[in-house]
Structure formats: structure tokens, C-alpha cells
Symmetry: C2
Subunit: 223 residues, 2 copies
């Protein structure tokens, strides 16, 4: 296990290039449980594959289980998904797995499912540049309605900033987004999760909007 040494929420696909990183062994008694890195989730994957486990062949990277879902537009900001993306960029198959709650997490079902998905990925392989973004409802096994393979849905926030004064009377801004809508298409990740299904979305790091290539090319560009 290689993990950030503190919470890194909404870090997106940040990597640390301008500063050095520290790696500390994390032990319980004499037992080495993992490594703590003072960087982002994507840094952890880079340093795990490129340095800590350099002499090993890494077959699979599992990122998570994250406390809190990573669906819809929020996938863009997700450190959990970006760690899995980083592994895939480095040629290693990967899974991101998140639990759809911030309170009273039920890890057991998600952990067992994660093991089964890992086994399936090792057995079947993943298409090039594709990773799996898994979101698990925070429900007991008996209440899970099924597993849906989904697309990334839409969501929208109205950004707002609380503006306050610090003790030296200087203003500071704090992001406070207001929820506007979420996708209600049953083919989407967020719908599946809200309705008691495990969501598995194949995610790619090719950002090209292929459907827009011809339209943009037809604008008659001149240097």
C-alpha cells in the first residue's frame, strides 16, 4: 500500500514536479503495512511503480476504497480516479473504487467486490487506455440491486464563495458549491449508485472530443 499521508480531496490529476516528495514507512509494531507519501494520489502511483516497487512487476493498481462517491462531473476532480488513470498511463491495468457515503461506511461488501473485480481484470485484461471506475452503494449485500456498466453522467453546481475576514481583517474566499442537478438517465454512474446498483464505468484518458473533429475542422482555419 502506498497512500498520501493526509487527506487529498479534489486534487484532480495533480503531480508534484516542483518540490521533492518524502516517503515514510508505515508500521504497526514490526509489521510494514505500507508507505506514506506527502503528495497526491497520482504521485503515490508514480513513486510506487517508478521507485518503491521498481524491481517488481506491478500487475494491477487498485485505487481506493474512497470514502465518498466519484461519479458524474466529479470524476474530473477525483484523486481516486486520477491515481488509477496514472497507473493506466504507465501501462498497468487499474481500478478506482469508491463507496457512496461519507458517514457510517460499510466497507465489507465493497472490499469483497473489489477483490472479484481485480480478479476479473487480471483474467480478462482491459482495453488499451481504459480503466474501471467503480462506485458501490453503502448498503448491505442483500439490498444491492445489481451491477450496472454505466457512462459518466452529468452534474452541475452553482459555484459560490463565502467571503470572510481573517483575524487581521484580510478577506478570504471559501468555495461553497450549490447543487443544481444530477443526471437522471439510468445509463449513468450517478443514477445507478443512487438507485442501489454498483456502477462500473470504463474510463479513458483520451480526452479528444471525436464527435466534434469534423465540425471544428470545417471552420475554415487560416494561419
Amino acid at each position: 500500500m502506498v497512500a498520501p499521508d493526509a487527506e487529498r480531496s479534489a486534487v484532480g490529476h495533480a503531480i508534484t514536479t516542483l518540490m521533492p516528495l518524502r516517503v515514510k514507512e508505515f508500521r504497526r509494531g514490526n509489521q510494514l503495512l505500507g508507505y506514506a507519501v506527502d503528495g497526491t494520489p497520482a504521485d503515490c502511483v508514480k513513486i510506487a511503480i517508478g521507485s518503491i516497487f521498481k524491481e517488481d512487476k506491478v500487475d494491477l493498481v487498485v485505487s481506493g476504497i474512497n470514502l465518498g462517491s466519484n461519479t458524474a462531473t466529479n470524476v474530473i476532480y477525483s484523486g481516486t480516479v486520477s491515481a488509477a488513470t496514472e497507473a493506466r498511463i504507465l501501462g498497468v491495468p487499474s481500478i478506482a473504487i469508491s463507496l457512496g457515503t461519507f458517514l457510517n461506511p460499510r466497507w465489507r461488501y465493497a472490499a469483497g467486490l473489489g477483490r472479484r473485480i481485480a480478479a476479473a481484470v487480471l483474467e480478462r485484461g482491459l482495453p488499451p487506455k481504459v480503466l474501471l471506475n467503480v462506485n458501490v452503494p453503502n448498503l448491505p449485500r442483500s439490498q444491492i440491486k445489481g451491477i450496472k456498466v454505466t457512462r459518466q453522467g452529468d452534474s452541475a453546481y452553482l459555484d459560490d464563495f463565502a467571503i470572510r475576514e481573517d483575524p487581521r481583517h484580510q478577506p478570504y474566499y471559501w468555495l461553497a458549491g450549490t447543487y443544481l442537478m444530477e443526471d437522471d438517465d439510468p445509463d449513468t454512474d450517478g443514477w445507478a449508485l443512487r438507485n442501489g446498483y454498483v456502477s462500473i464505468s470504463p474510463v479513458s484518458f483520451d480526452l479528444t472530443a471525436y464527435g466534434a473533429l469534423n465540425e471544428i475542422a470545417g471552420w475554415g482555419w487560416k494561419p
Copy 2:
């Protein structure tokens, strides 16, 4: 203009939620030139649209001109592209523009082209969820071979970490990637830039690997 108060390289789509942000007016004499934010490029867009220019209608966000290209897999790590992506998420058409050099930048042609692309986007509009990622060769106008509408190419690095000791004999790690390959398909962003063309790539923030949906759905998932 709303910009980070210092270089923020490789920050990806990070946004700042766990800490407050500071916004400082940036003046030359009495003239207000813009606002400096102690956050990421995506933070700047959020705070510009959500707070600083809240009473205005923002028609277009132009992110850049960045010193250094943003092509191929590096688009994932790009603060420049993520700022444009954030604008598009908030419903505002956007362009990211980067200059293909770190040394002796020739801003003039890129700036003029940026104005023309901005005018074209305002006139024609962009498809939903699509923004333009523009890369301009660092050449005089007379040596620009043309403008190509491209897809995001591949690139690969072999990650390596320099491990050193600090003055207190503690180890630290510093990322040092070694360049392995770059895409030589003439339809790609990197090829265009390396060969004297302006590259315009339509980019989306829908990360779904649509081509993989059926394959993954066929794996026979059971809860």
C-alpha cells in the same frame, strides 16, 4: 485577468476545497490589471465566474498563453487545459492556448491567433462539453505551415525518481521522467506542433470509454 499568484505546473484539475483562497488586486500604478489567486488555474476560473465577475455575464474564458506545450498524454496534467475545462463545466465556452517552447517565446503570433479563435468561438459556438486545446509552434508567422484540427496523441515516460539526502540526512524523492516515445501519427496534436503546424484539438470532459462499454458489460457481473 485572474491568474495564479505563482507557477502552478502539473496541477491537473485540482481545486481547493479544504483551505481558503486569497484574492489580491494586481495593479500597475492606479491601473487594475487583474487578480492574483493563491490557488490552481481551475480555482481561478471558479472564483472568477462564481465571485469576482459574478454580476457580469462571462462569454468566453481563454486560458493561457502557457509557456510550454500541452499535447498528448500531458494534457491530463495541464493546469492550462483544466482551467478551460472548468469554464466549460460551468457552461462557459473556452479555449486553452499554449506556446510550444520554454525558451525565447514569440508571443505575438500566438496572441493574434488566440484573438481570432476567440472571435470564431463567439460567432459559431462550441458543441456541448467541448473546448478547444490550441498549441502554437514558437515560429514567426511566415514559417507556420498551417492549422490542423487534431486528436490528442500518445506519449510515454519512464518515471524515475532521484533519491537524495537532505541536510538532516533524511531521504527525499524528486520526479525525473525519461522520455520514451511520442505519437508519430500526423492526425495528432504533438505531431502537428513538432512539424510547424498550429494544433487545435477539441477536448471533452466526458471521460467515458464508449468503445469499451459493451465489452465490459459482457463480463457477466453478479453482485
